[in-house]
Amino acid sequence: MVTDILMPQLGESVTEGTISTWLKKPGDPVTKYEPICEVTTDKVNAEVPSTFDGTITELIAKEGETVEVGQLICRIEVSGEEAEEAKAETPVPSEVPKPAANEKDDSQKNRYSPAVLRLAQENDIDLTQLTGSGKGGRITRKDVLRAIEEGVGQSKAAQVTSAVIQEKPAEAEKDVKKEAVKPATDSGNVLENGDIEIPVSGVRRMIANRMVESKHEAPHAWTMMEVDVTGLVELRHRMKKDFQEREGVKLTFMPFFIKAVVDSLKEFPYLNSVWADDKIILKKRINISMAAATDDALYVPVIHDADEKNILGLAKSVQNLAEKTRAGKLEVSDMEGGTFTVNNTGSFGSIQSQPIINSPQAAILSFESIVKRPVVINDMIAVRDMMNICMSLDHRILDGLMAGKFLKRVKERLESYGPDTKF
């Protein structure tokens, strides 16, 4: 077992020493504490003792050579028990398990440092187009600098301008770019005389974010069915006056729509579910979110446990939530926990719509305008009250077949009403 002998620390502030004389030569036996060489420093002359019993194998430092403290001066073949001891002192290189290369960690991809944000804004760089080289996929300042240099990740407004520029001489490029970008606002829109800029309110921003998130996250599929609601129209027409007098609530079509949806959801629990990345959660409670618009915003208050309510109960809930929405008195609890959304787009005359899913729900159903149309029944043409129902569904959770079956049951339920149906 050969051990390295290092230049020892021979006093305060001494950092190096000069080997003046070797007292041993290769092959000489040494005992522990026996001097092996003489060393001169700025402050002292000293002998360096051997730290082991053994035999000198090699002199590394030459006489007259100045050696830093801690540097190798000679080697000793350690004898006997001490060999074991010396061996134990040599550090065992521990194997550090390297993370597998294919395990890509993207957790920090959207964490931007102040420098990154500033550079991106100043240079019109769309950070979503960059790949981060930092820890957890973080985009570093250097990544942005590289992108600026290579012209990668420029946002659309900048791309348009730079496309124009390419035809001009290179020297003019910087000035031209500044000029061209100037009249544009942050989002790249050009303002003309008379245009009015409306600052985005908190609610508007929230709606925007939720819509983008939903459209971005959930692959939307869309389907529509036609419903013959002639019977329901007659029923409502016959009942509405009595109903209002008796119950103090206006009888609209909405409770009937919701009832048909709720009963059908019971048959198709996947429509009453939530996408949770690694699983689909089938919700037990049926809480119907109901789109309710004001002049400047859209809210979706929730009728909780809608399956426990009859037409009267639903009518009261709908009216109550609609009033609260208009009065701006919705509470947080009124907005939480929805599992499926209905949307009465017919109320403003729409006959077809493609709603955006109220994330993370599985689907949203629009009830369109009821209009009288000629319809062929039993090879005869009849004038019927027709309504389209349109559904957007999260294709991760549902496929068209189940959605179609569900929609068909809603249709059948709505068509089953006649002028004399009891509810």
Partner: protein, 327 residues
């Protein structure tokens, strides 16, 4: 240019200033006949005699107090505190008197005095011979604090300190004394107090440091260059006045800052630099400002393995730089 050691630069600066100006004199424990325990004042006694090279009793408060009085009367004393650890008995003189006389007398009196003190560990000096004491003084307006890293900086800054009209604390890292050698011009020169110096240009991580740690940072940078990490090293040279422009400039180079000092972390000068950066260079930052400092334990241990654990070294600095580079 001749290559001399860090401590030779101290001796040369003293020698030349004493020849240049007869008002300059040195005082301290064993600075005379013995030439100083580190040999920093060697040859001065022989050339200038006992009137200008004063061996004092072991009384730091008197060394500084006498110096203050002499300075107020127009002399230019250079007081040596044998080890920076021993400066505490003189603390009151330095803080209450030297730092404040100009302010207190509305400019009528001033103290053109230098207090030299060897500081720092890594020399097996244990509790009373290893401390870094700069943070005790950085928050005291009225003092200038110089902590050079190379022989060139030592000589130029010590001369500037002696010629300065106000008190200067001149901290010399004792491990640098014979470890660090460098080229120093023969002709007379001074360096401005309050100017930092870029010791290495780089683009990935900025290290801001001073004293011995400059060399460790440079060694770490050397090593990391082979790994493809480019390190920018700023040597503050003077803590007070702090060269703010240089700090902010260095931050802009990389956006990632590691502050290194041997003094312990809590209350250390690194916190001041970090605060300056967040106040004035927030939009340049690409990573949280990091500090690598001595641990918050009472003093340097005597046991060699513990001393090694306490002291920063190029490997520890390289690890910290690497971590920032990867951030």
């Amino acid at each position: 240019m001749p290559v001399i050691s860090y401590i030779d630069a101290v001796t040369q600066a003293l020698m030349e200033e004493m020849r240049r100006d007869s008002c300059v004199f040195v005082l301290g424990e064993d600075v005379g006949v013995r030439g100083g325990v580190f040999r920093a004042t060697v040859g001065l006694y022989e050339e200038f005699g006992p009137d200008r090279v004063l061996d004092t009793p072991l009384t730091e408060s008197a060394i500084v107090g006498v110096g203050i009085g002499a300075a107020a009367y127009g002399m230019r004393p250079v007081a040596e505190i044998q080890f920076a650890d021993f400066i505490l008995p003189a603390f009151n003189q330095i803080v209450s008197e030297a730092a404040r006389i100009r302010y207190r007398s509305n400019g009528d009196w001033n103290v053109p005095m230098v207090i030299r003190a060897p500081y720092g560990g890594g020399v097996h000096g244990a509790l009373y011979h290893s401390q870094s004491v700069e943070k005790l003084f950085t928050g005291v307006p009225g003092l200038k604090i110089v902590m050079p890293s190379t022989p060139y900086d030592v000589k130029g800054l010590l001369k500037a300190a002696i010629r300065d009209e106000d008190p200067v604390l001149f901290f010399e890292h004792k491990r640098c004394y014979r470890l660090i050698k460098g080229e120093v011009p023969v002709e007379d020169y001074t360096l401005p107090i309050g100017k930092a110096d870029v010791k290495r240009e780089g683009s990935d991580v900025t290290v801001i440091t001073y004293g011995l740690m400059v060399h460790y940072a440079l060694q770490a940078a050397e090593k990391l260059e082979k790994e493809g990490i480019s390190t920018h090293v700023l040597d503050l040279r003077t803590l007070i006045p702090l060269d703010k422009e240089a700090v902010l400039e260095a931050v802009k180079k990389t956006g990632k800052v590691l502050i290194v000092h041997e003094d312990n972390k809590t209350g250390g000068f690194g916190g001041e630099v970090a605060a300056l950066i967040s106040e004035e260079a927030f939009l340049e930052l690409d990573a949280p400002v990091q500090r690598l400092c001595g641990p918050d334990v009472p003093a340097m241990p005597y046991s060699p393995p513990l001393e090694k654990e306490f002291m920063l070294n190029p490997d520890k600095i390289a690890d910290a730089i690497r971590e920032l580079a990867e951030f």
